[in-house]
Symmetry: C2
Subunit: 173 residues, 2 copies
């Protein structure tokens, strides 16, 4: 698949997809969030071929999202743990899961729920908020060029220091 020069410049989505945007990779990450650590458990839970699982786990280790260790002792299992980088992808994961629960249920209710461990109460729906915590609708947002913007992006979205009235394309809401 060809990557255009623009694509890698416009935002971090393209780069994030390079590390997470593969079906099995994200399902492996799901299992890691759910507490799975051993190769054999990943294999059993996902029903994925061992060679594919090995390749995807190796990719996640290389990307710094999981670490691999071999448990002490003869024939100790390979154990995979989330790194800080891997744990930090949790909001994206939870937001995607909640979106699936809201829109893709096909008449079913949520198979799993994420709750606060201390209270047992469901977490809130992940949303986009202003710096002071107010929830924001898509139409209240605007995209502007960041400090790492190319000339093309600055032309498209306006400079980072532009006033709110500057030309820029808001997400449609």
């Amino acid at each position: 698949m060809r990557r255009s020069p623009q694509e890698s410049q416009v935002c971090s989505i393209a780069r994030a997809l390079g590390e997470l945007g593969e079906r099995w990779t994200l399902l492996i990450l799901r299992e890691a969030y759910f507490g799975t650590r051993q190769f054999t458990e990943f294999h059993r839970r996902l029903g994925v071929a061992r060679n594919i699982l090995t390749a995807r786990l190796n990719g996640l280790v290389k990307a710094g999202i999981l670490t691999r260790a071999v448990a002490p002792g003869r024939g100790g299992p390979r154990v995979y743990r989330l790194t800080d980088k891997g744990r930090d992808a949790l909001p994206a994961f939870v937001a995607l899961m909640q979106w699936g629960d809201r829109w893709l249920d096909e008449g079913r209710e949520a198979p799993v729920i994420i709750v606060e461990a201390a209270t047992g109460r469901p977490i809130e729906a992940v949303c986009v908020r202003a710096g002071d915590g107010r929830p924001l609708a898509p139409r209240e947002l605007r995209v502007i060029a960041g400090p790492g913007a190319s000339a093309e992006i600055r032309q498209r979205f306006g400079a980072a220091d532009a006033a709110p009235s500057a030309k820029a394309s808001p997400p449609r809401g």
Copy 2:
């Protein structure tokens, strides 16, 4: 790619990936959030082959994430707009983009920034919160079986009405 029976049951991530988890699909969605509406604009921005773009746009329309209309007049352009379902995926998109900005910058700074339109101030980092708004770390979360859980999921994660002390696998934090 074989899909295991477990996979479609465990959570909505697998199903969400079925609609969004393809590289070009998510990049098209990115463009839609950034304000792109016309086929020719998607084509120019992404540098993707027309036949692939057509197939992915058709898929997004079929999934109810975009609507398609033809602008009035002779040779009017095809115009794609986000539906409520499409707009509702924004938190997942923003969370993924912010994760990319934090972890994948390769020494670069963020190419684009999302701000509140009214103030021009950057939005906050998307995070997971309790029902009362407190931010929660991964280690403070727990996965439990939901109302749509299969017997296997209930066995794995504990019932939805289980007390906080019930056996369940928390995400590792």
